[in-house]
């Protein structure tokens, strides 16, 4: 029941995102379609002509080539067509600037984005949880103090500043890592060592920056662990002679994880979102950089398509995290028995 509800909710979010993009693109005043249309009309008026029915048709046709949307069709019809094309045919339109189907461009770029984001996120979460736990167990020690300072420092320095600085130091000055691209052009793609080394080298700095971006739950986890450690049932467990390791992992760790879980999930959304910034800085050709170039060229079908793609990837990530979360927290399967006032 819970799973069905959860999946249903994701589908709903997906359609909301589609509607939002459509509205942004099509309905709002000063949206791209409106803008192009107004611009063309103005040109016509400046030439001293009042737009006749014939000219309106040419304007509409031009708007269609510029934006991929025909303004003469009423909005509900194009909304229906928009949804139908995406859901049934995975057709996100054609990129105006690259003149290729949006789906193909994004589908090729996506694995690379997921690659660096997932590694960064997984590393960041694991390391911050580990550090948080160790800090809680050695509360007040030197390690605790130093790590608290580092964690606060980490939340003060934006991840892209770290990205820019690492790029300047390790790539421009020391030359240890390449400053752009995602693979070594002189190697042949496939399962061979030079190619893999090239990929790792190109991904190292972006992954490190994504790691910095997602490292931040340590202090929260530390606090939760400390609070759990003061609870009565931990003392009871100790009196029962349960081993330290088991108490640390099964009792404290698991119960302390529940409150920070939401922030981990939200980390998924923000890590995928921040890939636009990271990939642009590292010149790493994946979804983020494609989106950035589309933004700079005002390639609206591609922009909208990549927004939907980002939403899908985030939705999937959160859904997977959520469905596996039942393993940690048995309560998620049914917690709606609250009375209402």
């Amino acid at each position: 029941m819970y799973y069905a509800k959860r999946i249903g909710q994701s589908v709903l979010v997906f359609f909301t995102a589609l509607t939002v993009t459509f509205a942004l693109y099509r309905m709002l005043p000063f949206g791209p379609v409106e803008m192009v249309k107004v611009q063309l009309m103005k040109q016509l008026l400046e030439q001293g002509q009042s737009p006749s029915a014939q000219q309106m048709r040419t304007i509409n046709a031009m708007v269609k080539t510029y934006t991929g949307i025909d303004p003469s069709v009423p909005w509900y019809v194009s909304y229906y067509e928009y949804l139908r094309n995406i859901v049934l045919y995975q057709d996100f339109g054609r990129s105006i600037f690259k003149n290729k189907p949006v789906f193909d461009i994004l589908y090729r770029a996506m694995p690379w984005s997921v690659f660096i984001s997932i590694y960064g996120l997984a590393l960041g979460t694991t390391v911050s949880l580990l550090f948080g736990a160790v800090m809680a167990y050695n509360e007040g020690s030197k390690f605790d103090t130093v790590m608290t300072f580092i964690s606060i420092g980490n939340s003060t320095v934006p991840y892209y500043v770290v990205a820019i600085l690492t790029l300047i130091i390790f790539s421009y000055n020391l030359g240890w890592f390449p400053s752009g691209g995602r693979m070594n052009p002189s190697t042949t793609p496939g399962l061979n060592l030079p190619f893999i080394v090239g990929i790792v080298k190109h991904a190292a700095l972006p992954v490190f920056s994504a790691f910095v971006a997602s490292f931040g739950g340590a202090l929260a986890f530390r606090g939760n662990c400390i609070r759990e450690m003061g609870e009565g049932y931990i003392r009871v467990a100790r009196l029962r002679g349960i081993s330290q390791g088991r108490i640390a992992i099964r009792y404290v760790g698991r119960n302390a994880l529940l409150p920070v879980y939401t922030s981990i999930m939200m980390g998924i959304a923000s890590v995928f979102g921040s890939s636009i910034i990271l990939e642009t800085i590292f010149n790493y050709p994946a979804m983020g950089l494609v989106t950035f170039n589309a933004l700079m060229n005002r390639d609206y079908p591609l922009i909208m398509g990549s927004f939907i793609f980002f939403t899908i990837v985030t939705l999937l990530g959160i859904l997977i995290a959520d469905l596996t979360y039942g393993v940690i927290d048995p309560r998620v399967k049914g917690g709606n028995e609250r009375e209402t006032y």
């Binding site: 934006p158 300047i168 979102g273 921040s274 006032y341």
Partner: protein, 316 residues
């Protein structure tokens, strides 16, 4: 038995104001300043506010070629933070970029805190259908990758006004707060004092204001600081990438200029890039420290522990 009332004189307006001032402003401020984090944080933020209000009138606007190019910082006191490739004083640029930053932060943080608090409290307190509808909305906005949405919005509409930029950046922030607030409200509504107010027949608005929101203040204040920090980060990133219009002086724009125009392997030019970065870090440090200080002000348990440890642990 209860019909007898004692004749306590009604406080005069003046007394009320004095008492209110003492309780609401003086006491919290004293605690805040006594905590070193709160103190440093307030000093930093006050400094930025002064820079953004008084500073822009004291410090003249930066002009091109007012000094030699690439003066390193802290060497020539005509140019305290050095100059860039056009010989503009970095210090003047920094000062004149501050008001826009502050406006952006205020607009964005206020939007996210107000929306988050209202939606979170209403959802948590009412429960039932209101709760599910509001939480569905929150979850939807939460799942949509906010930064991407912001970037798309910013590109399409090209906002110039810092307030509008702040509001757009605030869109991404409120769902988090609404979620935390809701879960807090869920536990507060089960507490004895809320139960008591309900049995006494006090109105919902009264309970929400006096019992619920007053207990949420630590979360609200901490989250105000957090959203402020996120807005600084995001806005600077968007200006740095050139996604937001570059017409206004901003630390992100400064970073962008430095990144494209300075020789990044030359240590004599790198300060141009480091100065705005340092300011961003300083400003967000101010907000974080202030948040931690405010935590002390509002969090009674922490405060009690704090006072106890200060007085040697004898008052137990």
């Amino acid at each position: 038995m209860f019909t007898q009332t004692s004749n306590v004189p009604d406080p005069t307006v003046r007394e009320k104001v004095e008492r209110g001032f003492e309780r609401r402003i003086y006491a919290p401020a004293a605690i805040l300043v006594n905590d070193w984090r709160g103190f440093v944080g307030s000093v930093i933020l006050l400094g930025f506010v002064l820079m953004g209000t008084v500073g822009i009138y004291v410090v003249p606007r930066p002009t091109v070629m007012e000094g030699p190019i690439f003066v390193p910082p802290f060497t020539d006191w005509d140019f305290p933070l050095g100059t860039g490739v056009m010989g503009e004083s970095l210090f003047k640029q920094v000062v004149h970029a501050t008001p826009a930053m502050l406006q952006m932060i205020t607009a964005g943080a206020l939007l996210s805190v107000v929306l988050g608090t209202v939606i979170g409290t209403v959802a948590g307190y009412r429960g039932g259908r209101t709760d599910s509808v509001l939480m569905m909305l929150t979850d939807t906005v939460l799942t949509i990758p906010g930064l991407v949405l912001i970037i798309v919005l910013a590109t399409i509409y090209q906002p110039e006004n810092p307030f509008v930029v702040g509001l757009i950046l605030g869109i991404d922030n409120w769902p988090r707060l609404a979620r935390t607030i809701r879960s807090q409200v869920l536990s507060i509504r089960e507490e004895a004092f809320t139960e008591a107010s309900r049995i006494m027949g006090l109105s919902d608005v009264h309970i929400l204001r006096r019992d619920v929101v007053s207990n949420l203040m630590p979360y609200i204040s901490v989250n105000f600081a957090n959203s402020a920090r996120r807005i600084i980060f995001e806005s600077v990133a968007l200006y740095f990438l050139g996604i937001l219009p570059q017409s206004q002086l901003n630390w992100g724009v400064m970073m962008d200029d430095a990144y494209t125009n300075a020789n990044l392997t030359n240590l004599n030019q790198i300060h141009w890039l480091l100065v705005p970065m340092a300011l961003i870090i300083l400003l967000s440090l101010g907000f974080i420290l202030l948040a931690q200080g405010l935590d002390r002000v509002f969090n009674v348990r922490l405060r009690a522990r704090h006072e106890k440890s200060a007085s040697g642990g004898e008052t137990s």
